[in-house]
């Protein structure tokens, strides 16, 4: 089923017209309502109404995650807080989270694009959506919830965790669609077997999976374990949350809702557009968002883009590939974004001298594990085991509160962490996706 045919199957010429009209309005809106953009336009001596065609967008400035950080919490909002219905937050690069807001219209937009995504994945009104994305500040839970409501499908707001109960209710309620991270489906399969439940006999027919990278190899595994179709969804809270792009049954790229989120694929070093089909950094412009609209936002995700209409589902919206990598060192652990710099800023506050640390990521029994090894030095070394254990606990507690994620911390001997010339290698990722 196609939720909004007029946009999702619009002829390419019509799509460009929609994009141009919305871009023009957006630039005027930003200039008027967001001092950050007004100042940028003034400094760059660029007039908002100088945009005559969609391609002219390349003359306008980029927006980066550090801009959101520098204006924490509400500095980039285009509306007063009284008009903001909902606030969400996700990981920042240091101690402060990245904050986003939604007006009533923005929530409606989010609901619509999520409904598109679910329909694109093959969900219909007779399904029961088992939503195991985390509810709360994370945009996953509520995003899928709104989408299900907009589409008119029954939704079960399970959130994440409590795996035994998830599986029991899957059976008792006969939920048919699972929405969660790809690694969680594998974790649930193992728990199911332990409970004597055969995943092959489970009721889930489609999984709409995202919030972390996963390969076609992992897809095959998930599909064979659960005997269901597993499709990819893409999004990021800075843009809207989940609901930026969705894979259709063709499993050949994710349809990006380009009438709402204008995509560019650029060279991360020069900012110039990449050729069609060549991988680069995905940059997105929100075309109708009200509370925190963003212009040419650098996502840090590396993709390639394909403008050919899809022969299988009929959608004309451009397709992005599965995420191929990152331009920075961001990690995704159990669906949560983690920047090594967050960990470093915690360690610098606890230890006076620059700490030497190593982040080791592994996936054990389908669950991502994060271990932070911190080198001991004479400043922090105490003869008392108690004090060292207290220090380990303190570091663990501080990091967990900043990341929103459980970690383990281990004190190691000095000089065991490799030094390299220039930037030290801070992360060892043992996972294979």
């Amino acid at each position: 089923m196609i939720f909004e045919k007029e946009f999702e199957c619009a002829p390419l010429k019509k799509l460009k017209e929609i994009q141009l009209e919305r871009l023009k309005k957006l630039l005027a809106y930003l200039n008027k309502n967001v001092s950050f953009y007004h100042k940028k336009f003034t400094d760059m001596k660029i007039k908002p109404d100088s945009l005559k065609s969609v391609k002219d967008i390349k003359h306008f400035p980029f927006t980066k995650k550090t801009d959101l950080r520098d204006h924490y919490p509400f500095g980039l909002f285009a509306v007063p807080l009284s008009k903001v219905y909902e606030i969400h937050a996700s990981s920042g690069t240091t101690g402060n989270p990245t904050v986003v807001g939604y007006t009533k219209k923005d929530i409606k937009l989010w609901s619509r694009v999520m409904a598109r995504a679910l329909a694109c994945a093959g969900v219909d009104r007779s399904d029961i959506v088992h939503n195991a994305y985390g509810y709360g500040l994370f945009t996953g839970g509520l995003g899928f919830h709104y989408g299900a409501m907009e589409l008119g499908v029954t939704v079960l707001p399970m959130s994440s965790g409590g795996t035994k109960r998830q599986l029991k209710l899957m059976q008792d309620f006969k939920t048919t669609i699972i929405t969660c991270t790809p690694s969680y489906t594998l974790y649930m399969a193992e728990e199911a077997k332990e409970m004597g439940i055969d995943p092959l006999k489970g009721n889930w027919r489609i999984g709409v999976l995202g919030a972390e990278p996963w390969t076609d190899g992992m897809r095959k595994e998930i599909e064979s374990v659960w005997n269901m179709t597993a499709l990819d969804i893409y999004g990021l809270s800075e843009i809207i949350g989940p609901g930026v792009a969705q894979e259709c049954e063709a499993k050949d790229g994710l349809h990006l809702f380009a009438d709402e989120f204008y995509p560019e694929v650029i060279d991360p070093d020069t900012g110039e557009p990449m050729e069609e089909g060549v991988a680069g950094e995905l940059t997105l412009t929100t075309l109708t968002k009200e509370a925190i609209p963003l212009l040419r936002y650098r996502t840090g995700d590396i993709v390639s883009i394909n403008h050919e209409p899809c022969k299988v589902c009929g959608r004309t919206l451009p397709r992005i590939s599965k995420i191929k990598g990152r331009t920075d060192d961001m990690l995704i652990i159990r669906g949560i974004n983690v920047f090594p710099s967050q960990i470093e800023s915690v360690l610098l506050q606890i230890e006076e001298t620059e700490p030497h640390y190593l982040i080791v990521v592994d996936r054990v029994a389908s669950l991502d594990q994060l271990e932070i090894q911190v080198e001991v030095n004479e400043k922090i070394f105490s003869d008392e085991i108690k004090k060292l254990e207290e220090l380990e606990k303190k570091i663990k507690k501080e990091i967990e509160s900043v990341l929103g994620l459980q970690v383990s911390v281990r004190l190691v001997e000095p000089k065991t962490i490799e030094r390299s010339q220039g930037k030290s290698k801070r992360v060892i990722d043992k996972r294979k996706f």
Binding site: V376, F381, S382, D383, L388, V412, E413, P414
Partner: protein
């Protein structure tokens, strides 16, 4: 009456302990007493050696994280009740024993207990008052 104890941070990796003992042996440092405290992740090796200053320098130069701590070494009657007497004196004075370990003094055939006590000065005071013999640094070095 304060004895200098050397503490070394060791990861729970095989071979680390061996490296330390080999290193000290090479430099002709004699270990009088030792104890190894461990957690699941790491251990602290505590040593009474005949030349703590030299030991610290050697260990540091070889990349170990070390510290020195002041401890007391008390002579204990080598019969049942010997230790209990001393522990009671400290307990009555409300002095907290962080850890302790023992060794035998060859020449006088006395049992020696090493104590780490938070308030070391008060401990020395109270033990001396109760006629407990505390070793001097030079006694330890010459053992």
């Amino acid at each position: 009456m304060k004895i200098s104890q050397v503490s070394i941070f060791l990861e729970n990796k095989s071979g680390r302990l061996s490296e330390v003992t080999k290193l000290l042996a090479e430099e002709k440092i004699n270990i009088r007493a030792l104890t190894l405290a461990d957690t699941s992740d790491f251990g602290i090796l505590r040593l009474i050696v005949n030349d703590p200053q030299k030991a610290i320098i050697i260990l540091r130069d070889n990349g170990f994280t070390v510290a020195t701590t002041e401890v007391i070494a008390a002579e204990v009657k080598d019969k049942p009740g010997g230790l209990a007497e001393i522990v009671e004196i400290l307990s009555k004075a409300k002095l907290n024993i962080e850890y302790m370990y023992a060794f035998v003094e060859k020449q006088k055939e006395k049992a020696i207990i090493v104590f780490k006590i938070e308030n070391i000065d008060k401990a020395i005071d109270i033990l001396v008052k109760n006629k407990v013999t505390l070793l001097q640094s030079k006694d330890v070095l010459n053992l």
